[in-house]
Assembly symmetry: D3
Homo-oligomer: 245 residues x 6
């Protein structure tokens, strides 16, 4: 089985870290195909960056579709472009945010999300409401760590995330922690050991869920909001999507 | 005062209709500046079309900003790209969906939305939840009218919309109707007269609300999700946004 | 266009302040007609005062109706008597509480209300739930300032309100502030400048929204809870309402 | 123990019917003291009638207070004036709407309300949300019976109510019925026998709950929204309330 | 009238305390029949203890049914086994948790629950959501007092509960307190006097509500989730329930 | 890896069917260990049956724990005893109801549940609210098929389920179907093919999720409601649980 893991930003070191997290949990026989867009923001920090990353995500899906893919993972915790991707892709698509929330719900009655910057909190809160899991969430906390600081081994990023976990246990009655950025994928196991509660990161969760859907024979419903796009004339930079529209 | 009204699709006849609805309610002295993107879908019918229209919307905002604009209206009922536009624009931005819902709340305890295609219902429902006004909504109904059929005077579009209004009054306990597509802007007054209840279309509502914000001296908060984008290297098709990032 | 702005309490200095706020944003050609009941409480601080102010509000509406009014503003932040007024009045009625919440929703994802006394918090929370906008509200805070202290230039009222705004930004993740009393109408602009975020007061918002409804040709739906009152025999102190009943 | 049961409208035959329902469940030793205002609407059908009945309710409470009362029942299903009455009265106050909802919750997972006119539905729905019990309610249905038709033995009122109960069982998955008007108090037992499910009317429920509170030594909290009114100058028609204000 | 009050744990001193609380409010002529299971946990502290107490509760109900019982009270604040008991019992069943919440709602807009151990908080929160009264609850606090410490006059249990009440008033805007354990039944009146707000314990509330239902002629609806169990072969330890199944 | 799949009722043919569904999706190297209690109801149809099945479920977990189990699946769609099982078991526990809901959320914006008897609907609705996924559910429908009719190849069970799916698509805007009984596990693929939308059954979903948790190294949080039971004296039929208590 081939799974495409799309890093929606253009930072190659993050793609590598994400791919490593994916491979750690992939079943024997599953091939992880990690990609990133050619153009777009170097990191996704808020709605504006999200918007600029979506065309690139869709292009990566178009690129991946030629390769007998079992499913696509969108490896930005905001689940950027997830709806459009589900409409467009033939195979299932799972976002790492939703994946982490669903998995966390199986091991904890209540989880807190620790993300990078405060400006991302509203988008995550809206996702939680939309997915239906807001009532399971004790809070979304920002460690005030820029995404790319997570790529810098000399930054205080891990310490700041760890400090927010302490506060979540004390103030939010958190029973588990969800790490709110793909760039934190390598921190989950050590933070779990340090704090004595489940720490979930979404890349591994999403890869496993794609495998699950594939084995169970489930794919995106075409009734409702994720119906295949209606065929429309597209030119210029969007001609690449003319298959779908 | 100049207000930019952005039609997010590339169909010029819709831009003209939207501009006319805007001018009908604009105060003396307000100039309506109606625009549309150069590239993108000819109509917005679902999440995939939405995603492809967002870069064009942001480009129109960049284009408008040089012109002493009091505010921007996004004239797609899905409020496509509203969050990104609010981050990016210096002036206030109002979507026609949210504008219609807020106005409807002042004249009706409960309103029903009549939109074009069923595939758009989930996006509108999510917006209603996010805005907080879902509890005021008795239902989102699709007339199963493609957007461009609204541009065709020989289509059955108006009849189908009118039929859904009948059903909304009977089955949803609707006290008012919100028309769920910018292309229906010219139908509001006659449908209101025909059915004997308020019928709200969002273009006029959004234009008025931009005027209100301007007169009241209110602009988008930079605390939280609508903070100005962080400065980032952008190249290729996104170089146009380098001002902001 | 004539707009009647009703101060539901009997304190003339508040009526004057409210009228000034209304005139500041009224369009050229709009006349503000500010009134107050002859009898009732000198300030509205909780449910009991609210109840005693409603007959006076309805009497003011009856008085205003003879004067080609475009709409009525109820200038108490509890939106006292709004439902009864909407049933009774021919023209649209807007409360300053709801007006402020709707406007705040256009410039902030999340707002905090700063009101006078803690006893008023539950009424405001119920309104927020009813209007549907509770999910946009980060909290309702009381500055513990009696309403009439706002009329006294030597009181600490402004300082206390300003202190709550600091706490709202720090503890509620407030992106904007809604001032929860008509008597604070003169403080909005200076508090906004001081704290660097939008501060919305409801009198100006309600006046603008009445203008909007009027220009858009919208009036209260007569289907549902705001249907015109059924005709009933009324005598004694209620004979003044015999037109309606 | 003396319990004051206040019929908020001026129709004496309803007061008598309400008193009879109250006496049916009152404990030995409990005296039912049934009253009605001197002025106000003959029946309460919507927000406007509600507003005009509140001063009369408060006057009745003032009148009742001299009589060693254990508590006051407000016998209008809209729980008209309940908040103001709780602030003003020394003894507990229970509305028949809330009383019926609480009792129904103990014998049914889900209940439907059958009320008189559709115009009353929104007020009842708001109460249900406010009380927190909306999630227990399968629907609020109007039998389209004016309140005073319930006083006319020749009207079709009972048949219409019974027809709505049939629809509630079939379409709402109702497990119990709450009768949504004090004027239906005499119908509960026969409708329960006829339809084979619990039918709850609020007058008896409220009388019992006042007895419960009295025996348990519980009275209205003075922290929060039901704090005693602040002392204020009152004149004219409101001088009667000068004790409280 | 006979009311069976079932202490779901096997600690006889708690049964005695519960019986005393019940008798304090029972009407003249009501006989309190207090029982406890032969086997099961000595106290109920979390879901596992709850599960092991349910068969014993049902056995007590079977035992009580031969005795012309007007209703059964389940005297564990988690309302352990309430649904199964309602299905099985012929007479009404009321849990002390739900009883306390309903009564609290009549004297306070907002109440805080003070329970024993933090592990019980989620179960109480789920009940509040299910009953519909979560919106009335300002918080569920644990005094970190094991249940049996409440039986020890030398423990610090009362002080710890009292401390949480202080925090609830200050931090939760609590207007009343609900005591979250049957073992606290003897503390309500003195804590109310000490803190100056209503303090509700559920045993007395449930006994009164059973009396109310009985006098009103109301019993559990057999439509929906509380339908009588379908007849099934049962053997071994469950043969005692063969009447019902 | 060994996964214990517990059929909570005593019907061996259902255990066999459940085991087959589990093996269909288990990874190579995963051993399915399917068990059922010795005593208890032959099928679980409502709260009373649920209550009687819980001790048996916990005994099966105790029995399974000696066998290096990666996790336990509770194969009743009501997720009977899930909380108690999570407290008690060392390994993760997943219910088939929650598993199906989470998986359905990845392929459909909105799903309808088709279960056996109407009496089970409230329990499923409460689970959906508790899990947080009620907002994703378009309805819970009963096919009015007793559980054991699913074991009878000559019954009309499949036809009735299929008929409800038709109604769900037409009336609920269902985008996917969740089969609401373990006994329907063999119907999912053919019903999906017949109706052209995803049909999810929970046994396979739960088995996959246990595998996922195991590979990801996640286990039940011991903070909060699922803390390990406190040690208590247990005798008689509960002595088997003395390890935990």
């Amino acid at each position: 089985m081939r799974i495409q893991v799309i890093n929606p930003n253009t930072t190659a070191s993050m793609t590598a870290k994400i791919a490593a997290a994916a491979r750690l949990v992939a079943s024997p026989g599953t091939e992880i195909f990690a990609t990133q867009p050619d153009e777009g923001p170097v990191s996704i920090e808020g709605y504006f960056d999200e918007a600029l990353s979506v065309p690139g995500i869709l292009e990566e899906i178009a690129r991946g579709e030629g390769q007998e893919i079992a499913g696509h993972v969108i490896a930005c915790f905001d689940d950027t472009g997830l709806d459009a991707a589900r409409c467009f892709a033939s195979a299932p698509v799972v976002g790492i945010g939703e994946a982490a929330y669903h998995m966390a719900s199986l091991v904890a009655g209540r989880f807190t999300v620790v993300t990078t910057l405060a400006r991302s909190i509203p988008a995550l809160e809206h996702n939680l409401v939309r997915y239906g899991l807001a009532s399971r969430c004790g809070g979304v906390r920002a460690a005030e760590v820029p995404v790319l600081a997570l790529e810098d081994p000399h930054s205080s990023a891990r310490d700041r995330v760890s400090g927010e976990i302490d506060r979540a246990i004390r103030d939010d009655r958190a029973e588990a922690i969800v790490l709110g950025c793909a760039g934190m994928a390598d921190l989950a196991r050590s933070l779990s050991a340090e704090h004595g509660l489940p720490v979930i990161e979404g890349v591994s969760a999403a890869v496993r869920l794609i495998e699950d859907l594939s084995v169970m024979g489930l794919s995106t419903s075409r009734i409702g909001g994720w119906a295949s796009p209606r065929r429309k004339p597209l030119s210029g930079r969007y001609a690449v999507f003319s298959r779908a529209s």
